[in-house]
């Protein structure tokens, strides 16, 4: 009896456990996730292809999409359509940082200003950036200007609030010690405040990047004739569904890469050690 129990116990331990992956664990699990997504995509494509109502959209399936993506990579179309989009997101994010970080530092440092600004900021933050579209189109001379404005409007809030939160969490003793050692306001800013909140600012930028990338595509439905949003619209109009799906893949891959890059930056600037006394 006990032998049987022992044997079944051994089987449970040896026969049914997943292999230990060691340092490849992240890589293997990531590949597993992508594989599952491809399978779901393939099933969806197969359903579309075999349906009497939907077979016209069969090019959304993985095989046509990925072969078209390969062509687009080879003939430079991917670079041509991503370049303007990255430029717009970069500029929108740049303005969001230039405005969000200083304002965040000010509302983090000045309690009164924070109290005054809180309601209007929360109010503005909750307005979908895309609802500024008609105003942006009227206010800016160029389509590009309007799109950059929309991206900036979306990106500024996470940066601003994350910066302010970081400033509020600064140990007051760090400021007192710096003052005591003769720091002037510029020293205080560059030697104490900015390094102390670097990770908060970068986390805000990472969130902002995500929002900006999401807002980008609908913003590029506006009058411009370049960029990923335009490419999607254009592919729909010309019924090139494989090109449309390939563009969606490009959007996803670039978004993922940008987020991973921001994650790397955060790790680099993170000064918190786990064994902080």
């Amino acid at each position: 009896m006990s032998d049987v129990t022992q044997l079944s116990g051994q089987m449970a331990r040896t026969g049914f456990s997943l292999p230990k992956l060691g340092r490849f664990r992240g890589l293997v699990n990531g590949a597993l996730g992508i594989g599952l997504l491809l399978v779901l995509w393939w099933i969806g494509g197969w359903i579309v292809e075999t349906s009497d109502d939907l077979f016209a959209f069969a090019d959304f399936a993985p095989v046509p999409t990925l072969s078209r993506l390969w062509e687009m990579l080879m003939d430079g179309e991917v670079v041509a359509m991503s370049g303007p989009s990255l430029m717009r997101v970069g500029l929108g994010l740049f303005y969001a940082i230039v405005i969000g970080v200083p304002v965040g530092i000010m509302i983090g440092r000045m309690k009164r200003l924070n109290e005054v600004a809180n309601v209007p900021f929360q109010f503005l933050r909750m307005i979908s950036p895309l609802s500024w579209m008609p105003i942006a189109v009227m206010a800016f001379a160029t389509w590009d200007g309007a799109i950059i404005f929309l991206i900036g409007m979306a990106a500024v809030w996470p940066i601003l609030f994350s910066t302010a939160g970081g400033v509020r969490r600064i140990d007051p003793a760090w400021l007192k010690v710096a003052r005591n050692l003769g720091a002037n306001p510029l020293h205080m800013l560059f030697s104490v405040i900015l390094p102390a909140i670097a990770v908060d600012v970068l986390s805000g930028i990472r969130l902002a990047l995500g929002v900006a990338w999401v807002v980008l595509v609908p913003a590029e439905y506006l009058g411009v004739t370049s960029g990923l949003g335009y490419a999607i619209n254009d592919a729909r109009d010309t019924l090139e569904y494989d090109r449309l799906a390939a563009t969606v893949v490009v959007i996803g891959v670039i978004g993922f890469a940008l987020d991973a890059l921001a994650g790397q930056l955060i790790r680099k600037f993170n000064w918190v050690r786990s064994d902080w006394h």
């Binding site: 140990d171 003793a173 760090w174 007192k176 010690v177 710096a178 003052r179 005591n180 050692l181 003769g182 720091a183 002037n184 020293h187 030697s191 104490v192 390094p195 102390a196 670097a198 000064w271 918190v272 050690r273 064994d275 902080w276 006394h277």
Partner: protein, 292 residues
């Protein structure tokens, strides 16, 4: 405690009691402090936290401000540092009225408050950087780190050090700009007893070697006896100086364990208890906790 001791020992740290040559040119003139008619209240309606303070601290003197929590001793220290302005009266250091903080009189706090994104050496050099003496950092920082026995730790991150070592870095950071006076606000109270004693001895020795004026805020009678030449005992509500007494001990006697130390400790404890209105004259045992 033995474990903590090991942790706090550094490769270059000498054994307890070993005398080191000062690796540091003497600062011949420590700050002279005159507190004149100083009173302070946070809000007018609340009455005075400190009242009618008049005293002098001589150049190179080690003075302890001893009192219970809430007697205003820490507020007084902030005023000596120029971090708080008194409501009435003034603090005069070397003939100049104190209006701002200055790297000439540096304050050390209970928490070392090192900047965790910097190395030990960068932390120690900060005062020089802030006072536009960055060119001195390369020479001066190794000097002060050696002085606090942390020369081997220059390139380590501040977070990798033990509590006692971090407080030593804070001491090095305070010493780097060659201050005339150090103001210590219970800087050792978060440390274990062994680390605290060794720092008390080292800080006094460094101050004496350099000729620095040293002011220590403490509620620990033992700390006052070990470190101070002179003790100002403060009473609370409002904060006033109730007693101004000298500690007549040689450097060897300050290490503790001698009759002379015990006598001074008991005498100061008696004054402290009386001022703090703690009732009957205490025995030594009553204050073991307080003095540790």
């Amino acid at each position: 405690m033995a474990v903590t001791r090991m942790k706090d020992q550094t490769p270059s740290q000498p054994s307890e009691g070993q005398v080191q040559e000062p690796a540091h040119p003497r600062v011949l003139i420590g700050a002279h402090v005159a507190v004149k008619g100083l009173s302070h209240s946070y809000r007018k309606a609340d009455g005075h936290v400190l009242e009618d303070m008049d005293f002098e601290i001589h150049q190179g003197e080690v003075v302890a401000l001893l009192g219970r929590s809430g007697c205003g001793k820490s507020t007084l220290l902030h005023m000596l540092a120029g971090l708080t302005h008194p409501s009435e009266g003034q603090v005069v250091i070397n003939g100049n009225v104190v209006e701002h903080p200055s790297p000439k009189w540096v304050m050390m706090f209970q928490a070392p408050s090192l900047y965790p994104w910097m190395t030990v050496a960068q932390n120690a050099g900060l005062g020089l950087k802030f006072t536009r003496r960055g060119y001195e950092i390369a020479k001066r920082v190794p000097e002060v780190l050696d002085l606090v026995d942390l020369g081997a730790f220059a390139n380590r991150n501040a977070q990798e050090l033990s509590g006692g070592q971090q407080q030593r870095v804070a001491l090095a950071r305070s010493l780097a700009p060659r201050p005339e006076m150090l103001l210590l606000d219970e800087p050792f109270s978060a440390l274990d007893a062994f680390t605290r004693r060794s720092l008390q001895q080292d800080v006094r020795k460094i101050a004496k070697d350099l000729g620095l004026t040293l002011v220590i805020v403490t509620h620990d009678v033992g700390e006052a006896v070990r470190m101070a030449d002179r003790v100002l005992v403060l009473k609370a509500n409002p904060g006033r100086i109730a007693e101004d007494t000298q500690i007549a001990l040689t450097e060897e006697e300050r290490g503790g364990g001698t009759d002379a130390f015990a006598r001074e400790h008991a005498r100061l404890m008696g004054i402290y208890a009386e001022v703090a209105e703690m009732g009957n004259a205490p025995t030594e045992n009553d204050f073991t906790r307080l003095s540790e």
